[in-house]
Symmetry: C2
Subunit: 409 residues, 2 copies
């Protein structure tokens, strides 16, 4: 046995190779869950898992597990992320965590170590949720938060059914996951935000993950002629929507508790230059690492909606689209990440994840935490998503060290 | 010769008959300019004009004139409006003025009077501007504000060319209008606003018409992750747009000079729940009866855009879509309207038109004014557009009396 070491060139090369799969004629990368492009990415991953000598298992929701069995029946340590992408994606989101996990297992095997428990790398199905809702679906099913039957019946934005598509691409497994309860779960991921770069840090030890509240708000007013209706007699749904959009932004900005708020999509009806909008529908994305504060933000929004509806003589309805409570990750694993980074001389800080991740689902059933590396300009879900090679290797090394500690090597 | 009198039943019946032409399977009324439905409406109007013994002339832009020639070469008195409609329209907008004009000519003929100058009723092409821009096109061409070649080359929302469509429906006249300069122009129209009803008045003597400023503003920010981008680092195009929409509304509402402001249409990019908008495009419709004040409103918008762009670190572009200066109608004709209403015991008030009308174009070349009758709830461009029969008859009688005075009977 020698000291396990990441093969940096192999890891970086595989990130590029996987990132080349699923490009359209204009070079845009899109591997939506259970698409032909996703199949091609999965086939490549499975080939790599098998080449390292891992046992490959596919569960009913299509999650891929590469397992290093040991002769104990101890619960396995699980590491992983996802390899599906958004439309016109970058190459790091998700893929980095899966391929670094694969690299860690390869490094451990090549070093001839004997782990005290099984280790597995997972690629969870449909983390992005672009084609089928909800996002983080594969890990949610794995953690028991959504029935596999319900998930497989979901109809996509293209009218397809997920179960049919998984069968079509050959990734509808016949059995449940090969282990229901991992010993622990660690996920390495690009930050997708600007904090680490902004503070010139190498590693984030993610101790919390923000709660997420997504609502669709529809304001109903009265369409009328833009030229002939005096301002005092208007019931302008568009104006009310603008006031709400400004309110949530300004409240979050004034708040020091880490709230973020976004109105990302909007539509007016009839949406004509010279007609006062009768209807305005828009989404509000609220996040906070603290559940009590997230509820305060939701309550403040509700109160403002009531106020503006009364003042502007409009009505509104609220559709709750997504609601996840904040997640607190496992303190011991977070401490291990901190120590591992420090031991390698890497600057590190405890932080909150602003994005949702598979780790928040697996945290329902096992101790879990995440390792972040910097994202250039905080950009993600975009072809300009970028993390420097050296930073990617730093992250993989920290993952290696944390795994080594967790499996008792 | 007897006293000329409107045939109220005939007028009301024709309004209903014309309103039945151009209905779809669901009963919705749509006669877009130069469409099959418009052709059917035009054919009906021409039949009625001919039945009264009027000479029918079609000019190159498709305006229909029904002319009562006299043996003088005096400039004719012109009355009229339009018979094209918006999508899912009411039956009064435009049609009422044309059919009341026809009824006035019929009443005068039936009374055996001998007018001192020719009288003509006009139905101007494409007042609504839904299928082809600009709106008020036929009267604009007639008044020399747009070349007929330019107008005929306009491409519609359905990809058609207006000149082709006018030929197809048989309304591409070979010659210019049968008279270039009318003696005067009077247009009777439903108010399309709530003022007359609100003040319980029968007749509006329209002395001014608001200036109109339409702009499309596009704000450019930076798309980023809604969960991971701190509020302080955002360049949120959607938030900036919401602030501008709120600003123009609130400024107009606080203003006592008669300003109205509407943000009627909006679009975000990428328009996703969890992505900060990189781009927000929206329209601003500003109107004021006073040119200096309208310029102040435009300048205030510009200043606010500069302020918000600097504060939010976004950029913006402005596209000017429509700009018409306010119109002051002819004082003598407005006084005639006032007197005619009062003589019939009808309550009347001087007022401003909030909407654009063919009269504003004809006012460029001849003394012009408008007569308004109340619109129930101020609703227009909507199947619920409604004016009571008695009010329609009142308006037609005032038109009759004004015409009688203007042609020296």
């Amino acid at each position: 046995m020698k000291n396990p070491e990441i093969n940096a060139a192999r890891l970086l090369d595989r990130i590029q190779q996987l990132g080349a799969i699923g490009r359209d004629a204009e070079g845009r990368l899109t591997r939506l869950a259970a698409s032909d492009a996703d199949m091609a990415g999965r086939d490549q991953l499975v080939a790599w898992l098998e080449a390292v000598g891992l046992e490959v298992a596919i569960d009913r929701i299509g999650n891929i597990f590469g397992i290093w069995r040991t002769d104990t029946d101890a619960n396995p340590l699980l590491i992983g992320s996802h390899i599906d992408t958004v439309i016109d994606a970058g190459i790091y989101d998700g893929c980095y965590g899966v391929l670094a996990g694969l690299e860690v297992l390869a490094a451990l095997k090549e070093a001839g170590v004997a782990p005290a428990r099984p280790i597995a790398v997972a690629a969870f199905t449909n983390e992005e949720g672009v084609r089928y809702t909800p996002d983080m679906m594969g890990s949610l099913v794995y953690a028991g938060g959504l029935s596999v039957e319900d998930a497989l019946a979901r109809v996509g934005i293209d009218g397809t059914v997920l179960g049919d598509e998984l069968r079509r691409i050959g990734y509808a497994g016949a059995r449940d996951a090969p282990f229901a309860t991992p010993h622990a779960y660690v996920e390495l991921h690009v930050e997708q935000g600007p904090v680490l770069e902004h503070k010139n840090l190498a590693i984030g030890a993610v101790e919390t993950l923000q709660g997420i509240s997504w609502q669709r708000i529809t304001v109903q007013g009265v369409a009328n002629h833009a030229g002939t209706t005096p301002m005092a007699l208007r019931r302008d749904a568009g104006y009310a929507a603008a006031k709400v959009a400004a309110f949530v932004h300004e409240r979050a900005k004034a708040n020091t508790s880490g709230s973020v708020a976004t109105v990302g999509s909007i539509a007016f009806e009839p949406n004509a230059i010279n007609v006062i909008p009768s209807r305005a529908s828009f989404t509000v994305d609220l996040r906070n690492p603290d559940e009590a504060r997230l509820r305060q933000d939701e309550a403040a929004l509700q109160a403002f909606l009531d106020e503006i509806a009364a003042r502007e003589n409009v009505t509104y309805t609220v559709e709750r689209l997504v609601r996840f409570e904040p997640v607190t990750f496992d303190k011991q694993i977070v401490a291990l990440i901190d120590e591992a980074a420090a031991a390698r001389g890497l600057s590190v800080r405890r932080m909150t994840s602003g994005a949702g991740h598979d780790a928040q689902m697996v945290a329902r059933i096992a101790p879990a935490a995440m390792i972040f590396v910097p994202s250039k300009d905080g950009i993600s879900h975009n072809p300009r998503e970028y993390t420097a090679d050296a930073a990617l290797v730093d992250g993989a090394n920290v993952l290696l060290d944390v795994v080594t500690r967790l499996v008792g090597i």
